[in-house]
Symmetry: C2
Subunit: 291 residues, 2 copies
């Protein structure tokens, strides 16, 4: 490991020290890209564990105090709470400080946070597309972002140097860093992530509710069903926040999906063999192409 | 391996020597549960390969000739062709012969095949719930059915001794063997297998058709989407046949699912935080319970 002469980040404050925040701290420390890491959160036991594990140097329960002297603040709390956190810390940031986040929805976060920043401090939205089914600092690891994508979502108002620094941080973490506007991010993620979650949650609830077999149905379900519905085991609070903050795009993709499901229903009802085969074949070809 | 003194099956004819048929032949041979295996099919190269691999003893291109002297015939062809195959072989079966199948839809198969059997020969429907993404005799292996389920679907007319023998064959193959009537099987599988496939195929087609991003969407899709849509890479012809032959139950479960998706849409549109969380939490709890 080569330590950089001057680290990329002098003092990093991580608000919400879980899988996402902890893993970024770990990789930047490992790469010598950060001078000091301060953990900020409400759970003191978790923060103490972060110090023991060497993920952070010290911790602070009060965010307004914790961000003091930080040149980069990473807000890794649930989506809905990000603007609240940023509003609270904004008056306490050093000149030149860059605040970035890890929320799964970007238009909501960026629209709310940008106006909160006082002149000479900067907000840049980000979304690392990585995770595991585990949570907490204990679950964090330095290679979480390796080979993944972190989408960074500037607006017309974003400071170019602040943007460049956030892109560099995620590149140091091992991620490809596509840059796009918040609205494009939200519509893209609605289609490839939010919609599939809505579908999976609905599917499990529907099969659970399809009570013709004395409640035995899910117990009987085969491996394929379990694999297919794995994402329906995701955190309900996180997904509530996503559904609340990316409402429009999610409704649009749900309606789009319903149209396709309706087309397939028509083919099944008509016993249209060639139509069914073509529908399935198009899906298979498109799916196989992304393997 | 202990060879049974008298094998469970004296001469097994397998019509359609692929993953499903080949794997049953392999495990019964390995366990000494079969005297001779005859492979029957249209692809001579595949059948020759079956002999080379030791999956079958010999092969026959003509099913009416191939079933001669067999005490058990396993029809492992696509669902829609099973009745055609059974109609063709029925006049040529030895007295006491049991015909069983491996089709994914049972009411269609059993209703069509039962009346084709002449007195003293027996049809028993079966559905081994096992498979891989590979096909052909080359892909077959003796442990495919180990720890899986094979549902056997007798009717009021089914001969009890023939039923017992088919159950025993699948138990020898290593499977649990639930017994239920064909209609129950079809409704159960519609919910836990056919519906998820309809949903996955529709989802991939919808995302593919959601063309706001210059065709980049699927290429951009994350690991979660790929895992979730794996079953949308299944064989289009097999699924066409399933959709054609289990039409009623599939339509019923699709409508049931659409109702749940509609409920979720209402929650999203109303920005109903507690309702969304409860919907997701119920799904997660039910899903976690079957892990």
């Amino acid at each position: 490991m080569t330590k950089a002469a001057t680290p990329l980040v002098k003092r990093l404050a991580v608000i919400g020290l879980g899988l996402i925040g902890g893993s970024l701290a770990r990789v930047l420390r490992e790469r010598g890209a950060v001078g000091e890491v301060v953990g900020i959160g409400r759970g003191e036991a978790n923060l103490k564990r972060g110090v023991e594990l060497g993920v952070i140097d010290r911790y602070c329960l009060d965010p307004t105090e914790g961000v003091r002297g930080a040149d980069v603040v990473f807000v890794a709390t649930p989506v809905c709470s990000i603007p609240t956190v940023v509003e609270r810390i904004a008056p306490h940031l050093e000149d030149g400080c860059i605040v970035t986040d890890g929320g799964s929805v970007k238009e909501f976060v960026v629209n709310a946070c940008e106006p909160l920043m006082r002149p000479g401090t900067f907000f840049v939205g980000g979304h690392p597309i990585a995770g595991t089914e585990h949570s907490g600092v204990e679950a964090s690891f330095a290679t979480l972002y390796q080979g993944k994508r972190c989408i960074v979502t500037p607006t017309e108002k974003t400071d170019p140097a602040a943007l460049a620094k956030v892109v560099k941080i995620w590149a140091y973490a091992g991620s490809a860093v596509p840059v796009m506007d918040p609205a494009t991010h939200d519509r893209m993620l609605a289609a490839i992530s939010h919609l599939p979650h809505m579908v999976a949650y609905s599917l499990v609830n529907a099969v659970d509710g399809y009570d013709r077999f004395g409640g035995e149905l899910l117990a009987f379900s085969a491996g394929g069903f379990r694999d297919f519905t794995r994402i329906a085991s995701s955190d309900p609070v996180m997904w509530r926040d996503i559904a609340l903050t990316n409402q429009e795009a999610i409704l649009e993709t749900m309606d789009f999906f319903s149209d396709y499901l309706g087309k397939l229903r028509t083919l099944v009802a008509a016993a249209d063999g060639p139509g069914l085969e073509a529908f399935f074949r198009n899906s298979k070809e498109k799916r196989d192409a992304i393997l």
